[in-house]
Amino acid sequence: MPTLPRSSRRHASWGWLASVGEPAPGFPRFLLEDVSFGYGAATALRDVSLRVAPGEAVAIVGPSGAGKTTLLRLLVGALRPDRGRVHVDGRDLQQTRSRELRAVRASIGFVHQDLRLVPTGRVLTNVLAGRLGRWSLMRALRETLFPRRSEVERVHALLARTGIPEKIYQRVTNLSGGQQQRVALARALYQEPRSLLADEPVSSVDPARARDTVALLARLAKEEELTLLASLHDLPLAREFFPRLVGMRRGQIVFDGPSRDLLDEDFRALYQLSEEELLEGA
C-alpha cells in the first residue's frame, strides 16, 4: 500500500485551534505526576507517574481492573484526578479552560473499547465527525450535510488505509465488529491528532484478526508520526509491536521499560493473582 503524506501537513484545517498553537518543544506528550483516582470508594489508580515522549509507542498491559482504561481516560480529560497532575504537551489539564481543553482533546484520537460510533450514521458521516473539534456547529453542519468532494476523497483514502474503502456509504450498524473498529480508527485519524489512544483495540475482533488490528494500529501511528498508547490484554502482541511496555496491576504501575528487557518473571508477576485478589474477583 502506498504511503500517503502525513495528513496534518497535507491539510491545514485547524480552524480556531490554530490560535492555541503547536506545543512548545521539549515537553513530554503525556506526563502523569502522582495521580490517584477512585470511583467512589473504589480506588482505580494509586500514585501513578508516567512520562511519554512524542512519537513513542507504548502498550499498557495488565489484567482487567488494573486501571488501564482509567489511565487513558485521564489523559484526554474525560476524568479528573483526585490527586496529582496530568499534563498534555506541557499543559496542566487541571488548569485548562474549556476552550483549551477542547484543543487538547482535538489533538488526541481516542479509539474506545466499545467504539462509540453514531449508530444510525453512515461510515462517511462517522469519519467526518472526527473533525468536530475543529469546527463550529454551523461549519460542521455544512461539512457533513454537503461534504465537499475533496473531503470525501480524503475520507475514502483513510478508509483505504484502514482496509474498508468500499464501505464509505454504508450505515455502521450494517458492518461487522472488526469493520466498525476500522471506522473508529479512521475517525481518529481524520481528526489529524498528535496522539492516538486505543482502549483494548482487540476486544471487538476475533482472535485471528487481533494481530492484524494491532499491526495496523502500530503501522498507521508510525506513518503519521503519532504518539501511540494502547491498552492490551495480549502480552505477546504487545511485545511484538510496542517497543515500550507499562505493566499495571491493582491501580499501580509495576514495571515500565523496553519490551526486550522484560523477563518472563515480570509477566508472571503481573498475571499471577494472589489469593486475596482471586477472592475479590469472586
Binding site: 477542547r102 482533546r105 488526541i108 456547529l137 457533513t144
Partner: protein, 279 residues
Amino acid sequence: MSFAGVPFYHRPRLLLLLAISGAGLLSVWHLRLAPWDLWGDGERVALLGHFFAAAVSPALRSESGLATAMLPRVVQAAANTVVFATAATSLALVAGTLLGLLASRRFWALFATTRAIAPLLHAGVRAVVGLLRSIHEVLWALMILAAFGLSPAAAVLAIAIPYSGTFAKIFSEMLDEAGPEASEALRLVGAPTLSVFAFGLVPGALPDMGAYAFYRFECALRSAAILGFFGFPTLGKLIFEAAGELHFHETWTGLYALFALILAVEWWSGALRQRLTVA
C-alpha cells in the same frame, strides 16, 4: 384474606387492582350508566337502522334535489383534508422540534455546569409544552375561531398548536433516551457543546422522530376532518352536513372516503417508517 401468609394490606398490586376496580364501579354508579338507555323509543331505533342500512349503498349522486355527482365533492373534500393536515403537521414539526430540544434533559445538562439558570429555563419550557398539549385541538379551534373567524389559518393553527406540544414532549423523551456513547466520544474529540448534541444525540433519535412524525400526520388527518364540523371544507364538513340532513348514503360516502384516506396514509407511512429505521 391472605396468600402464603402475606396479609392483603401488604400486597401493593392487589390493593391497586382493588382501588381501580372500585373507582370503575363508583363511576358507573355515579353516571347511572344503563346500556338500554341507548335504545329509547322506536323512532330512534328505526333511524339507527336506516343509518346502518345505508352503509352498503354509499351515495354516488347527491341525495338532494339536484342529484349532482358525489365524486368531485368527495375528492375535493379529501384533498382539502390532506392540505390542512400537511400544513398543520409541518408547522407543528418545526415548532415541536425546537421546543423538544429545549424540553429535553440532555440539552440542558450540557450547560448545567456553567449556567445556574438552566433548570429554571428547562422547567419553564416544559410548562409551556404541557400547556400546549393539554388543550385539545377542538378547544383551540373554538378559541381561535372566536378570535379570528373562519379562515384556513385558524384550522391550521388549531391543529398545529397542540401538536407542537405533543411533538415537543415525545421528541424530548426520545432525545433523553438516546444512548450517551456516541456523544461522549464526540465530546472527547473536542467538539463544541452544540455539536455534541447535534451529531452525537440527534442522529440516534432521528429515525424514531421521523416515524413518529408520520404517525402524527395520520392523527392530523383525523383532526382536520373533525374540524370540518366547524365549517372548514374538509371531509368532516361533508359528513356533518349530510348527517344533519339525514342523507345517510352521502354520510357513508364521506366516511368511506375518510377511511380510505387514513388507510392509504397508514400504508404509505408504514413503508416509509420501515425504510427510516431499517435502511
